[in-house]
Symmetry: C2
């Protein structure tokens, strides 16, 4: 009999939640199995080991992370508008998956990385032609000439950090979850304005804003 939600996916869903919230070292196989509502042995029946299960979860997380960043760049907008849309999408995506950036950064730093090859994901980014497109725009004088690493950092920093540091910021400014979330929308606008002004200094005032 086919079930509406297969056991295998119940495990993956539970593992995703637990791993994201506590990291690989911060949780046990039993905790995951309990979250999925079943026996421990079943987890190892479907996935050989905790490491193997983690590997799958991490790789799909990476996939989501990278994919969300690249969808914008296939459109035929101007580079400046692509940037605006990108920031908008990134804030939206990360608001739905707030643990993702810390999870990826933390687990990339782990020595025993469950033998995960990160390179393949990064190759996808390079293969998408994003970097070439930016370099081209720089050559044509449409974009400020800073190196691509710095460009990546500017965007990633201002999109990801506000999500990552939520608890820290709430502590510093003594504000509630709701207040922080609404302030994040204002901040997104500030970030967009700052980045566009900096990266497109000439035509930033005349270009049409995002709807």
């Amino acid at each position: 009999m086919k079930k509406d939600v297969t056991t295998e996916e119940k495990i993956k869903e539970a593992a995703r939640h637990v791993f994201m919230a506590k990291g690989f070292a911060g949780c046990s196989s039993r905790e995951i199995s309990k979250a999925a509502g079943m026996n421990v042995a079943l987890v190892n029946y479907y996935f050989r080991s905790k490491s193997q299960l983690f590997k799958i979860i991490f790789e799909t997380a990476m996939e989501d992370f990278v994919t969300s960043m690249m969808t914008v760049f296939s459109s035929d907008q101007s580079i400046e508008n692509k940037m605006r849309i990108f920031i908008d999408r990134e804030f939206e995506f990360l608001s739905k998956h707030p643990e993702l950036p810390v999870f990826i950064i933390t687990e990339m730093n782990r020595e025993e990385g469950c033998s995960i090859d990160h390179a393949c994901f990064f190759e996808k980014i390079a293969a998408s032609g994003i970097f070439n497109e930016c370099a081209q725009a720089q050559l044509e004088g449409k974009m400020r000439k800073i190196n691509i690493l710095s460009l990546t950092l500017l965007i990633m920093s201002n999109c990801q950090y506000p999500i990552m540091a939520k608890n820290l910021m709430q502590g510093i400014h003594g504000i509630s979850h709701e207040d922080y979330t609404s302030n994040l929308l204002l901040h997104k606008q500030n970030v967009t304005e700052m980045l566009v002004n900096y990266l497109f200094p000439i035509n930033s005032k005349t270009t049409n804003k995002l709807k």
Copy 2:
């Protein structure tokens, strides 16, 4: 007989390294004691438990983190120059303590936070008068009027993220440790220029640059 380095401090030093690199859940008491070159029981002889030891390490880390941010603001520079100096110091400090931001953000998210009260550290920041000084500068038209949370986020994002995401960025752009480190200096200049241009739009071109 007094020793040059007391056992207690040997433990703290080892614990600092191991906790920072692997987090609370990612390491064992025995790993710490081994890194300090001694028996496990000694760790619990000086510090009652793993949690207690962690609490001390975390609190001093927080102390460092907060202190490094506040030293600039006691000087009598202009607000714009303070900002430039702040960014400079923050990059320098974080380059020496690269694991600090991820460590703090991660451990602040932990449910079992070893019963650490974070509030006292944040109170120090507010008590320093930084926020008031910025609000004043905004009233006097010396600084762009954005809310203080957004201001904090802009600065923290652009200073901390480039350090936190080192491995991720190296992967994406396929560059070595050395290349990343040197690129970080260029990036610091870009960040400074972008932030100053955005926060001090009127007088940013005429004000004297940092030596």
